[in-house]
Symmetry: C2
Subunit: 342 residues, 2 copies
């Protein structure tokens, strides 16, 4: 079968320790001639070290586990490539786990990664609740992107609240009053985007009791359409839709089209994430941007630093977000002018 260190040792006429030393530039020195013989034997046999055995002994797998909710969501594909890039730089490998926004699947993967002794965890968009997350953070080397506050964890927090707040402020400043928020699945006890939006409206003295539109069974384009149709059926006078997600917002735009509403003339639609399709679609999507690729990079750097010096450097890194205004949102004022013109 596959050649082992033993075979190489025999072939080169040295001890297996010596072979190991040359493979790893081992802790002990090796004479040039011995090294030569070993290298020859390795080349001749095409020997490849068994990573399993190596990891078993060294307690390091040079692997980081990456948990994300949805591989088809461009926000996360950007995130993933960021993680991969840094991992490659530092000679780590990435074991990607796609939880499908399913908490039990997520727990299953966390167990799996533990059994495989990954060196660390990068988590984003977890569907676990705060206490479960706390437990994960306590038992693993983990860096987590989450809106929860988790003591003693390496935590990145997207400023969801501010994102919602900026959307709210923007819409109100343009004269919108009948605003609805299309929530994703109720992942968290505290839906920060919604809360931020709510806060902005309150600040301007607007009521928020009818702010929440229909919620969705899963986060997808199709469900975005369904939830929007439902919402506009329940609240026909809506002039602005703020959506959990760009995918959802794209669905919302499609729903409006089907209902014969023009975007943005009749109704404004705003998303979240600024995925590539947001700027490509017609109308292009007003949205809240956060650079997921950069976040992935930063988080992975943090994790690798943590793995290096085990000092419990718990800290919280806030990530700012930015409202990007495009074609899908429009001043109510303009619309009113148009109506008056008739």
């Amino acid at each position: 079968m596959k050649p082992t260190v033993k075979d190489i040792a025999k072939l080169a006429g040295v001890s297996i320790a010596t072979v190991s030393y040359v493979i790893n530039n081992g802790p002990k020195p090796v004479s040039v001639e011995a090294r030569g013989k070993v290298l020859d034997a390795i080349a001749k046999t095409g020997y490849q070290p068994n990573a399993l055995a190596r990891s078993l002994k060294t307690e390091r797998t040079q692997t980081i586990g990456l948990l994300i909710p949805d591989i088809a969501d461009p926000f996360f594909t950007g995130f993933i490539t960021g993680v991969e890039q840094v991992a490659r730089e530092w000679n780590y490998n990435v074991f990607l786990c796609n939880t499908g926004r399913n908490p039990s699947q997520e727990l299953h993967y966390i167990d799996l990664l533990a059994q495989r002794h990954v060196d660390g965890l990068v988590m984003a968009g977890s569907m676990l609740d705060a206490s479960a997350l706390k437990l994960v953070a306590a038992n693993h080397n983990a860096v987590i992107l989450s809106p929860y506050s988790i003591p003693d964890a390496l935590l990145y927090t997207l400023d969801d609240f501010d994102g919602g707040y900026q959307v709210g402020n923007y819409l109100v400043s343009k004269g919108h009053v009948a605003i609805r928020y299309i929530e994703g699945t109720w992942a968290h006890e505290i839906p920060h985007r919604y809360a931020g939006l709510q806060a902005a409206l309150k600040e301007h003295g607007l009521p928020t009791d009818e702010l929440l539109g229909a919620t969705m069974n899963e986060v997808s384009y199709e469900e975005g359409i369904r939830a929007t149709v439902q919402t506009l059926h329940d609240f026909p006078k809506t002039t602005a839709l703020s959506c959990y997600n760009d995918m959802v917002a794209l669905g919302a735009v499609e729903a409006c089209r089907r209902l014969g509403l023009r975007v943005p003339e009749d109704i404004s639609v705003i998303g979240f994430d600024d995925i590539p399709e947001a700027s490509r679609s017609r109308p292009s999507l007003t949205t809240v941007r956060s650079n997921s690729h950069e976040i992935g990079i930063a988080m992975t750097r943090s994790l690798i630093a943590l793995l290096g010096n085990k000092e419990a450097c718990s800290k919280v890194v806030p990530i700012p977000v930015e409202l990007i205004v495009r074609e899908s949102s429009c001043p109510v004022t303009a619309r009113f002018q148009k109506k008056e013109g008739i």
Copy 2:
């Protein structure tokens, strides 16, 4: 540290063999009382078996390596979820490797997966040449999606040629003559999509010497725009663009818009893959569909079957493709009528 089988054995007052037997419903039977004691000890300590040690002994990792060129390409995300789904069903895990369409990166990952002793390989959209692929197929349990013919391998082949042929036939039947093909990167010695398109034109007695438009440095939306602008600069009379990819086709549509050309009135654009955005975009994209999710499922089933009974069941599975006509393509005839109407 983490509890081991030894700890459980001591705690339960049995031998480590017995512990192993209950964990695996082992090859030997275990009395109910012993099993009970072991299960208690496991529950009490939260013991998790070390997958590394286990795999080292059993020579199985219950893992399949998945190699794809681009995680951001929706064609492949569909493929990935298909693979994951079947893997989960059969209690396998997926180690996903994103090669970034970089052959050396791809070889690196293949080595990595070998060192980690994955049980099998699923490869799609490889950038390796036929001889390298042949080598991979010979040395691993692999199922490969590739246009090359690789003897003694489990091979799936997308009917790229027929896809190109269908596009060509369709365009010619609608009266198009000035057709250009926007190639992706020159991944393969034989660009089948191009060849199929060419064959269709030849069959109708059309010249094919000016069929090939500008090629791209990488497969992306942005490069699609660039290559299209270039192509339409070189061949201003072009009435139809057939593109390597839906991503590229979307770029082509955007390029046309920037050049003031209406799609499909002035020029037809056709993609390949039928990614979700193809039907969402305006104009919606005429394209060649193949269900990547289903392909992922079928290939993984094949691999798992192969892993079960090692008989070298080499075979070639062709995958049909289907032209989906949408808004982005249009009869020249209609356009001519319009012109005559003026």
